[in-house]
Symmetry: C2
Subunit: 395 residues, 2 copies
């Protein structure tokens, strides 16, 4: 009775195959960009610090740079007096006025805060003793030369921008991947074509939200999306759309038509233009996931259902580029799963507990915006009990 | 002995003052943008769904739409036979061929998957009975008309794009705020001016990383940053830079010169151009935070220390726009704090425990890239004990 999924393979196997192809594929997909343009992109390299940070001992307060030993015993009732000099080094009994961030004079090893000093013409009364290196930011205290500041595969955050610029890094190698997005389905209408929802309803059409969601997801993964709009369930039309998109991009993502229905042409088309490597994975949602290659370019065939396609994107594309933060928390109630199948369950975190969201089908988009993250129930686990600790991948 | 911070106020009071000013200030800072341009911006409105989603009962599988009651008792050994019709409604004993996503014919209330059917010329053999609404996505199952899909103040995610486009929303009102960024300090050099780190070290200069970090932070908060470079510690130069930036933008953020040192001119300048509302908050790090207004535009005076300025940005700007996800987890070790002061402590999450990062000063930028988030120790708490549950704001 009809076509079949090629063969269902396990999630781990599918992941290994896809990630291995990513590894090879991305070797030369590099772009060097100015630091600020690298924000939210993914680093293609480990970056080591070329210098210590601070590069020199610095005053951490406004005040007077001193030799700590010259201040021992100083107090309000017993102030000590140091000669005020304007020099790049000091001798016994001398001090230099410094501001926060000033380079420490040679031989000085501490700063007395100005609140504890009284400056006169050429000397300073010290009301409080300091320990060696008190109020001093020492060379290399923040970063040591050779420290890894950013790892290959990390997302570049504002804080990375801060630390990388501090050590003089002006440019970064990031992944540069152009992604064409195609949606198939007679029932679809592109958002810009919609004038009236009532009319849409009467025509039994639905809006092609997948292309827009994928555009945003691709962008957030640090890649460069381009939308090719919706294509009818017509084999020749799909074929020419895929050809165009694969020529103009490095990878192509399609949605819809991956099952084995009479109108599911995508797999056939990719098989004719290149080859299918995966068709069908033991996951829920997202079983009809397909993956193939055309001339060493990658094709990801995602479901038409928004939630299924979002999950497939997460597992096989996003999680290669941007790892989610993970935390272990106890479950608020039991979750069942089936042996031999990997389940991806959207969850909410309520205080310190994990609440699985009621799942009524892979079409329920609202479950995505409501979720704080998801858990993965491996194929060799029949489910989890209330109170068990599970690893949550945070959105 | 020198100038003083105006008066130190509590974190809660400072936060209330600043957020109240944000509320008033932002009333008319609205831009209407196409849906895709709203990604990662902050919504200025609650958006209700104008329709049910699905808009009509849909087939959730490829197969045959039936009246469930006509299939009761069907099995492989006892197939039932239904007449195959091509119609928008069915009568008793009839079925219609449907694909996933097809509108259900009138009077049909279930779909028999094609795997359990055998189609002949004008009839279909049914091998499995279905319950009412089995394999049907019902009208409004995902979203009900009037449901809030996006709240004012929420960050617009790819999943919001999916659900908003699904109900036909083409444009969104987002916050539109231009932010000028000024860094002050004789010791600073802008990154693009740096040719050689050794030379920088010999001149005892440091790189103006703050402006770049703030550019990135402002952008991530959904606002529009513009950098005005570094300005020397010269009152007139600072004054003219602030004047230019405040004319060209809606708000201005400065870094450096907020303390009470001889070279700390920012507060004086703002006092002359407008008025200072806050100068000094009982927080650590970030005590010398300043906030003022010039002609109803807002001025945020942040510290020169990267970590202090990052924390001030987080507390008084970012957290107004983009709320962090919060989770409650137990502490891995004690943390001390001082009564009367609010501490912001960077932490790592290790499995299910919170590990405070060793803090050696507000200059330690690497503590930001290493942290998973932070906790806030309120002024009325002297610290937390190992094992106590604390609320972590996740980066």
């Amino acid at each position: 009775m009809g076509k079949m999924l090629k063969r269902l393979i396990s999630y781990n196997k599918a992941r290994d195959i896809v990630f291995n192809e990513w590894d090879k594929f991305l070797m030369d997909k590099i772009k060097i960009v100015p630091l600020l343009d690298a924000l939210d992109k993914v680093s293609h390299e480990d970056i080591e610090s070329p210098v210590d940070l601070p590069m020199f001992d610095r005053a951490a307060m406004d005040g007077y740079a001193v030799r700590a030993e010259d201040t021992f015993g100083a107090s309000t009732t017993n102030p000590l007096i140091l000669n005020l000099v304007d020099s790049e080094d000091i001798d016994e009994g001398e001090c230099v006025k410094v501001f926060t961030g000033s380079k420490m004079p040679k031989n000085a090893n501490a700063v007395v805060m100005k609140e504890y000093c009284n400056e006169e013409d050429d000397f300073v009364e010290i009301y409080k003793g300091v320990h060696p290196y008190e109020n001093v930011s020492r060379t290399g205290e923040d970063v040591k030369r050779g420290d890894i500041l950013l790892k290959k595969g990390e997302i570049i955050s504002p804080y990375h921008i801060a630390i990388l610029s501090s050590v003089g890094i002006k440019e970064i190698k990031v992944y540069d991947v152009n992604v064409g997005i195609i949606a198939t389905g007679d029932e679809l209408v592109d958002l810009e074509e919609v004038n009236n929802m009532e009319e849409l309803k009467n025509k039994s059409k639905i809006i092609n939200s997948n292309s827009l969601m994928l555009y945003a997801l691709v962008k957030e993964a640090g890649l460069n999306p381009k939308i090719y709009g919706k294509i009818d369930d017509d084999k020749e039309k799909i074929k020419s759309a895929v050809k165009k998109a694969i020529t103009e991009n490095d990878i192509v993502i399609t949605t819809g038509g991956t099952s084995v229905g009479d109108r599911d042409y995508i797999v056939e088309v990719i098989n004719e233009l290149g080859n299918i490597i995966i068709h069908g994975v033991q996951i829920r949602p997202g079983k009809p996931f397909g993956f193939g290659k055309i001339n060493n370019k990658l094709i990801f065939m995602l479901s038409g259902y928004p939630v299924a396609s979002a999950v497939q994107f997460e597992l096989f594309i996003r999680s290669y580029f941007k790892k989610r933060k993970k935390i272990k928390l106890p479950l608020k109630r039991n979750i069942a799963s089936e042996l031999g199948r990997t389940d991806i369950v959207r969850v909410k975190i309520e205080d310190s507990e994990v609440e699985p969201l009621r799942i009524t089908g892979s079409g329920v988009i609202s479950s995505l915006t409501k979720a704080d993250g998801y858990i993965i129930i491996p194929e060799n686990v029949e489910g989890y009990e209330k109170g068990e600790y599970v690893e949550v991948y945070l959105f």
